[in-house]
Symmetry: C2
Subunit: 184 residues, 2 copies
C-alpha cells in the first residue's frame, strides 16, 4: 500500500544477456522458484515446471542442442550461470478442452505469469536475465530427457551482471497501448 | 538488492473476486498500465493492448455479452469497479511465422508478462484482482467493437477489497514443480 518498490523494479528492469562469471547460490534460485510457485493460474492448474540448469556441463550440453542451426543467435545464453528451462505439464481438461473452446493456449498465460514472478524475484535479489523463445525445443527436450507429458515452452538465462551500456529498448507510449472505455 | 518487498507482494497476493463499491482513481489505473507498458516481450513486439472499462454502463454492456450462457460463472466480475480487457495486436512475423516454427503462441507469454506487471502494480497500490479466461471472446469483441486486427485474449477484474475469509488455494510443493539439472 503506497509502496513504490515494485514499480521501481519494473522501471529499473532491462533484459540482461551478459553475465558476470559468478555462481548463483542455490538459496537465491530457490527463492525465485518459490515466487513462481505462488503464482495464480487458470483453475489453479499450476501447469509450470522448472528445470534449473546451474552446472556448466549441463548448460553446455543443453545449449549445444538448443541453440544450434537457425537458433545459433541465442548462443550468448551459453555463458549464463543459470538457465531455467520452463516446461508445461499438459492437463487435459483446462489445456486441451479449454484451449479448443477458447482457441487460446491458456497455459502460456499462466507460464508468463509464473515466469514473471520468478524473473522479478531474480531482479529483486540482484540478478538479471532474459526470456528465451528462440531455441530448438525438440532438441532441448531430447538433450534434457524430458518425458512426453511435458512440453518445453521457453527458457530464461539468469545471472549477476554489470549495468549494460546499451540503451534501453524503446516502448510504445501509453496512449498507443491503453485506452479507457472505447476503442480508439 | 536485498529487498523482500516483491516477495512479500507475491506471498500476500490472492485472487480477489469480491470488491468494495469504491471507484478506482484514473491515476491508480494509469500507474498499473505504465507497469505493463514497460514489460519485456519477444523481439520487443509489445503485442499487448489494454481496454480499461471503468464506467458501470460499459462494464454491464460488456459483461452481459461476455459472461452469458456457459460463461455465466464469471458473472461475479460484473460487480468489479474495473475490468481490463487484454487484446493482442497480431504481428505477422513474430506471432504467425514464429508461432508456426515453434508451435507456441508466444504473444500469450508476452501478455502473461505484461498482465503480471499490471496486476502486481495493482496489488502494490492496494487493489486486488483476478485474471479471467472463461468468457465469450467473440461476443466480447462485438460488444466492444474491437477491430479485426486485435484478438481478445483475456480480461482482469480489479478493485478495492476487504481481505476474504476463504482459505488460500493450495499450491504444489516446490519439489513437485522445480528441479535442478536433472528431470526427476
Amino acid at each position: 500500500m503506497g509502496s513504490e518498490s515494485f514499480m521501481e523494479l519494473v522501471k529499473g528492469r532491462r533484459s540482461i544477456r551478459r553475465f558476470l562469471p559468478k555462481k548463483v547460490p542455490r538459496e537465491v534460485m530457490e527463492s525465485c522458484l518459490e515466487a513462481a510457485r505462488l503464482a495464480p493460474s487458470g483453475e489453479n492448474v499450476q501447469p509450470w515446471r522448472f528445470l534449473v540448469l546451474d552446472e556448466p556441463d549441463r548448460i553446455r550440453d543443453f545449449g549445444e542442442q538448443a541453440f544450434s542451426g537457425i537458433y545459433r543467435f541465442t548462443r550468448w545464453a551459453l555463458k549464463a550461470p543459470v538457465i531455467v528451462v520452463i516446461l508445461a505439464k499438459l492437463d487435459i481438461l483446462t489445456n486441451r478442452i479449454g484451449a479448443h473452446l477458447q482457441g487460446t493456449q491458456y497455459y502460456l498465460l499462466d507460464i508468463g505469469i509464473a515466469g514473471t514472478h520468478l524473473m522479478m524475484r531474480a531482479y529483486e535479489q540482484g540478478l538479471g536475465g532474459c526470456w528465451i523463445g528462440w531455441f530448438n525445443a525438440k532438441k532441448a527436450a531430447r538433450a534434457l530427457r524430458v518425458p512426453k507429458k511435458y512440453r518445453v515452452v521457453c527458457c530464461m538465462a539468469l545471472g549477476y551482471y554489470e549495468e549494460p551500456r546499451k540503451r534501453r529498448k524503446k516502448k510504445y507510449e501509453l496512449g498507443k497501448v491503453a485506452w479507457f472505455n472505447e476503442m480508439p
